[in-house]
């Protein structure tokens, strides 16, 4: 874990003049914020623009909307399979997250605390597994999925997503378990607790923040997954949001930008809402995975 530094964070900033600070700090920061947020603004404003204003830049300012409409969202919810994709994505993300957390908790505890013979090597292998990208696994995995007879089903995704979730969650939880003092476990062992009792009554309650971090991170990763879902799913009713929006809402040469952007907006909302509740957990899991 990182060493926390208690130091006054004002540091050298106090010597800078106010005018200099505007040009050196605030102006670049605002440009960064504008560039990073503009695509979302553009997505949102397009999602509520009536079709007549969508491409008519001569008579309507493109940056604003007069008389916003919910037609695109209504169309999406009632005339396409969008609600079904939303449901599929949710089921797949929740199932694969729980499956991965279950396997990862035991693996991380074993590597970090039981210290069986070869534990260090296993830890290294888990880290290497995290570095294997889906874009070199999807072809052989599609063969395996087909042979197992689960092609074009939610199960195909639920079983393959843990390939990138388990290494990530295990690696993250190892860091959390390491931060729990050994003495707690030792005294429980002396008092006659079994390993199972130690895990469920002492270590897991203390590792709850780590479990939340790993869980919401895994949920987001599965929600965003694309290449497996694109390869293993062929029928419309089994598609996830990213695949469904891209393959079913894009038809011919006339793009329905309003519907496409509302699809993108609605599909992003669940992870953004989750994110807004757990910002600190996200940041700690992201930086934790890098720093360990």
């Amino acid at each position: 874990m990182s060493k926390t530094v208690t130091d006054d964070h004002e540091g050298m900033d106090q010597f800078e003049s106010r005018r200099r600070k505007i040009f050196v700090v605030w102006l670049p920061l605002l440009v960064f914020l504008f560039v990073l947020l503009f695509p979302f603004y553009w997505m949102a404003i397009t999602a509520v623009k009536p079709n007549a204003q969508l491409t008519d830049y001569a008579n309507h300012s493109p940056f604003w909307v007069v008389g916003p409409t919910l037609d695109h969202i209504k169309y999406l919810l009632f005339e396409t399979s969008y609600p079904g994709w939303l449901w599929n994505t949710l089921v797949v993300a929740v199932c694969s997250t729980f499956l991965s957390l279950f396997a990862s908790v035991f693996a991380a505890y074993a590597i970090e605390r039981l210290r069986f013979r070869g534990a260090r090597l296993t830890g290294l292998l888990i880290f290497l597994a995290y570095l294997v990208p889906p874009s070199i696994l999807f072809i052989p995995l599609s063969v395996i999925v087909f042979q197992m007879g689960i092609f074009d089903s939610k199960l195909a995704l639920i079983l393959t997503y843990p390939t990138f979730l388990i290494p990530f969650c295990t690696w993250l939880l190892m860091g959390y378990f390491r931060s729990i003092p050994y003495e707690l476990e030792e005294s429980a062992l002396v008092d006659g607790a079994t390993r199972w009792q130690i895990l469920t009554k002492i270590v897991l309650p203390l590792a709850v923040p780590g479990l939340i971090s790993a869980g919401i991170f895994a949920f987001t990763l599965s929600w965003n997954e694309f290449i497996y879902a694109l390869t293993f799913i062929s029928s419309s009713e089994n598609k996830t949001i990213p695949v469904g929006v891209l393959t079913e809402l894009v038809r011919g040469d006339v793009y329905e930008w309003g519907a496409l952007m509302s699809g993108a907006l609605l599909g992003s909302l669940p992870v953004v809402i989750l994110y807004s509740f757990f910002v600190d957990y996200y940041v700690s899991s992201m930086t934790g995975a890098v720093k360990e």
């Binding site: 693996a107 987001t220 990213p242 720093k291």
Partner: protein, 308 residues
Amino acid sequence: MPPVPERKASFWSRLSESRNGLGFLFMLPAAVFLLFFLTYPLGLGVWLGFTDARIGDSGEWIGLENYIWLMDDPVFWLSVFNTVFYTFIASVLKFGLGLWLALLLNRHLPFKNLFRAIILLPWVVPTVLSALAFWWIFDSQFSIISWVLMKWGIISQPINFLGDPWNARASVIAANVWRGIPFVAISLLAGLQTIPQSLNEAAAIDGATPWQRFTKVTLPLLTPIIAVVMTFSVLFTFTDFQLIYVLTRGGPVNATHLMATLSFQRAIPGGQLGEGAAIAVAMIPFLLAAILFSFFGLQRRKWQQGAD
């Protein structure tokens, strides 16, 4: 001879009492999963690269034929060039801009946590969905960027963002950098926050200029975390698939095909599983190079901190 149930019970209790036995039991779910869905496919992928497998046909061993075929395939070499170019330019930009943003956020600012939360948004939102927004921003007729530039009188007709080879390369790199900056910035910010301010102050008292303080104090202390962050960034950029698939599908005339998208196109819509697998396997040497880089970065960090 003792009865069977008793023996079984003693076997279980012996297993769960010994450290190695319990470790084995606890590792079992993760190990089974990873062996079957990660290690086995990895091996199968290498095997498929040596066969002429197609969809619905397991194929036969053809040795190096796929690779020999790829050696003479200009599209494959174009995709290798594109992948290296895309990874290099995007990583350099992500590093430069990400470090800049991290340094800005490391100052004493009001609403710092709010800024940090907002900045991570591009990274949280599903890539495919934000790429769709970029697709609309890069539209050949109704691009908002073209409209603004035309309004300001800088250009006279809309920019053909995704239709021209070099414009398309620049556009996909821009979208990739947009998505990658938050990860680099927030990770480096976490690294910056572990550097004690007192070091900077001591250097300032000794007469170091801000630039000297940055290059001689901040940067050396940040190097280990930069190595790790950039290895991850390079790895994810090199194997990128989603952004290209949404924005260009490798077009125009293969100008933006990366190795990952080419492998998908040959294997799934094209049906040539063997050839697609061979392209995917060809990515592995590059990945190993990145992993070794990361490994030595981590080693250096341990060495700097003293023994673990």
